[in-house]
Structures are given as structure tokens and as C-alpha cells.
């Protein structure tokens, strides 16, 4: 049954929510979510690449030969990643430094290549754009949520772009920051528990 544009968009927000439903693109999920701000920044950068590459792949799908399609996808994705890299260097340099190696690594993020191969190469331009945007926003929300949980438990407060902040110790005065959560092992365990939670309410 063909889906409507809205359905293609919203499936990325729950049904196929990237790191949880499709277990893909885990490296940035674990690597950059030491704070909510980093998570959201990474998510927005990935969304831009996903949207752009889905649009272009879908537009060129009748020209790209079947046999070399993966190579073509990778070149298209790499071009968008370079655009993001240069834009971030120009406008959000501190965030670019914090995300570091993970920005060029959007090229090898399985979600982006996966959507190009599984969706954009087979569907019309508008639908591919809706799909890319939906999956991207879902990914951003997931990264933001994981970042928020880790930052809240690890530092005791959440700060996003300097102004919007929430301090846990105002609600629970005896709370002690749990710095394990913002370090490497906490990433795996926190993501594992969130996945368990999503599985439990999804069924």
C-alpha cells in the first residue's frame, strides 16, 4: 500500500526511529552525547546530510547506473558532508571542535547510506525528501534525549546554547552528580537501558 507524504515523514519519528528501531549509526550516538547540546548539533548536521543526499539520489536515480550506485551515493553524501563541515567551521566553530572527528564520519554513517539505498533510489523526489527529513528529525530527537539523560545524571544540570538550562539539584538538593554517565562506559549502558525501555513500551 503506498504511503502518503505525511506517513513517510512520521515513520521516522517512531516506527523506524533510527538508533532504536533500526540499530544503525551507533557511533555518533555513543560518541557525542556527553551533553544535550552536542547531541542536538550532531543530529541537525546529520539531518542536513540525510535530506540533501536523499533529494539528490532520488533526483538522479534514473541516471545512476545500477552497478556503481554505491560509489555514486558515497560521493553525493561526501559532498554534503563537506558542505556541513565548512558551514560549521564558519558559523558554529566551538561546536565543530567539540564534535571533532564525528563530523567527517557522517560519510560512513550507515543511516545515510542505508536510506539512499533502501528508499531514495526507489522513490520519487518529494517522498524521499519527506523520508530523509523524518528519519533525520527522529535521529536528532534520539541523540538529544540520550544526551539530556547523560548530561542530567552526569553533571546534575542540562544547558543548551547557554540560556535554556535545568538544574537537578534544585529539585533534589541531596543529588550527587554521577560522572560515570558522561564517560565512555556510561554511554553504552545508558543506550542499552534506553533501548530496553523503548522495547518495553513498544510491545
Amino acid at each position: 500500500m503506498p504511503k502518503t507524504l505525511v506517513q513517510e515523514f512520521t515513520k521516522g519519528l517512531w516506527e523506524e526511529l533510527p538508533p532504536f528501531r533500526l540499530v544503525l549509526g551507533l557511533c555518533p550516538v555513543l560518541g557525542v552525547t556527553t551533553s544535550m547540546e552536542n547531541g542536538l548539533g550532531m543530529g541537525i548536521a546529520t539531518t542536513f546530510v540525510l535530506f540533501g543526499s536523499n533529494f539528490l539520489v532520488s533526483l538522479l536515480r534514473s541516471i545512476i547506473p545500477q552497478k556503481v550506485r554505491i560509489a555514486c551515493f558515497i560521493i553525493i553524501i561526501a559532498s554534503f558532508v563537506t558542505i556541513v563541515e565548512l558551514l560549521m567551521q564558519a558559523y558554529t566553530y566551538p561546536l565543530y571542535l567539540k564534535l571533532g572527528v564525528f563530523i567527517p564520519l557522517i560519510v560512513v554513517n550507515c543511516i545515510v547510506l542505508g536510506r539512499a539505498e533502501a528508499f531514495a533510489y526507489k522513490n520519487k523526489v518529494l517522498y524521499s525528501m519527506a523520508d530523509g527529513l523524518g528519519i533525520g528529525i527522529g535521529y536528532t530527537l534520539a541523540l538529544g534525549a540520550l544526551g539530556a539523560v547523560r548530561e542530567l545524571l552526569g553533571n546534575g544540570s542540562v544547558t543548551v546554547w547557554g540560556d535554556l538550562s535545568y538544574n537537578l539539584s534544585s529539585a533534589f538538593p541531596s543529588f550527587q552528580p554521577f560522572s560515570f554517565m558522561v564517560q565512555a562506559p556510561g554511554a553504552f549502558i545508558c543506550l542499552g537501558l534506553m533501548l530496553c525501555f523503548i522495547n518495553a513500551i513498544g510491545d
Binding site: 540499530v23 558515497i74 567527517p104 564520519l105 565512555a184 553504552f188 542499552g192 533501548l195 522495547n199
Partner: protein
């Protein structure tokens, strides 16, 4: 930094999987069986040493020299993708036994972010050629070590009774967290 410190840092302290979070998709994907984990580990060592040194040479002698540093991402991914293809064809012709052993894991390496990540890290840390070579090899050894340890644990988990929502990836991630905690103890050694 001396070479000994560099080696310890690459294998344990900055372990590519457990401390830097690169290459987690194959980490979770190929660790269900010991055999596949060993195959993937070997394939990564093989490709990473080649990719790490070749991208270093291309970056230093072509991109920097002609002022094309902004093309780094595109250049590296093209180099890695074609290198993997070339290695595949070369092994198929000349060492069929090794080719059969690595099997499906060779093409998968193109999208393994550990490979691309180490190439970028070598440049970011301003390594010399020899340092880049050593770092690439020992990062890959660290990858293989963590993957094989993890596969051993996952084979045991298959026999355990795990609550339903925790099954499969969820419990795997928590186990990975425990191994990461063990590797975390190396922090501060170098």
C-alpha cells in the same frame, strides 16, 4: 610520545571501539559468533594498515601541497572505497584462501567508521609517517581485541535467560559497557 606509549595508548587507553566509539555497527553486528568476529578483526587489521598509510601519504603530498585540504573527507572515502575494492580483487586472484576467510567482511569495511576515523585521527594528531603506520596497526589490533573479547561474552549470553525487553542489542550494549568499564581502568596509564 615514544612508540611504546603510542602502542599502549592505541590498544588500551584510547581503544577505538570502547573509548572512542568508532566502528560500533560491525562491533554489534559481527560479534554474535566467534568465527565472524575473528574474520572481521583480521580484515580490519589488514585494510586499516593500508588505508591509514595511503591516506596519510595522499593528504601530505597531494592535498596539503596543492591547497586542497577542504577535499579531505571526499578524498579519504574515495581512497578507502577503492582500496577495499582493489584489496578484494587482489586477494581473490593471488591468495584465495585468505579471501575465502575474510569473505563478506571485506566489502563491509568501506562503511566501517573505525577505518575512516583512524585516517582522520592520524591527520588531526599530526603524526609522522611512521607514527601513522604504528598507530593504524595498533588501533586495528585494539579493535580486534575488543571484538573478540566481546564475541566470547556474547556466546555466553545466548545461554543465559534474559528478560524480553533486554534481549539482543540491549543486553549486548550493556555488556559492552562492562567491557568498556574494564578498559576504562587503563585511563591515565599513558
Amino acid at each position: 610520545m615514544g612508540y611504546f606509549e603510542l602502542i599502549i595508548a592505541c590498544i588500551f587507553v584510547n581503544n577505538i571501539l570502547l573509548a572512542q566509539f568508532l566502528g560500533n555497527c560491525p562491533f554489534l553486528g559481527t560479534s554474535k559468533k566467534m568465527e565472524t568476529a575473528v574474520g572481521m578483526g583480521m580484515a580490519v587489521i589488514f585494510v586499516l594498515v593500508l588505508a591509514g598509510t595511503i591516506t596519510w601519504v595522499i593528504y601530505t603530498f597531494i592535498l596539503v601541497k596543492f591547497g586542497l585540504v577542504y577535499l579531505r573527507t571526499i578524498a579519504f572515502i574515495v581512497v578507502i572505497a577503492s582500496l577495499v575494492q582493489f584489496v578484494e580483487m587482489f586477494l581473490k586472484k593471488s591468495i584465495p584462501a585468505l579471501y575465502a576467510g575474510l569473505g563478506i567482511f571485506l566489502p563491509l569495511i568501506t562503511t566501517n567508521c573505525a577505518v575512516m576515523g583512524v585516517c582522520v585521527l592520524n591527520i588531526d594528531k599530526e603524526f609522522t609517517f611512521l607514527q601513522a603506520l604504528v598507530a593504524s596497526f595498533f588501533y586495528a589490533v585494539g579493535f580486534a581485541l575488543a571484538l573478540i573479547l566481546f564475541a566470547g561474552l556474547r556466546e555466553r549470553i545466548l545461554l543465559a535467560r534474559v528478560p524480553k525487553p533486554l534481549q539482543d542489542t540491549s543486553i549486548a550494549l550493556i555488556t559492552a559497557g562492562m567491557i568498556s568499564l574494564a578498559f576504562f581502568a587503563f585511563q591515565g596509564m599513558v
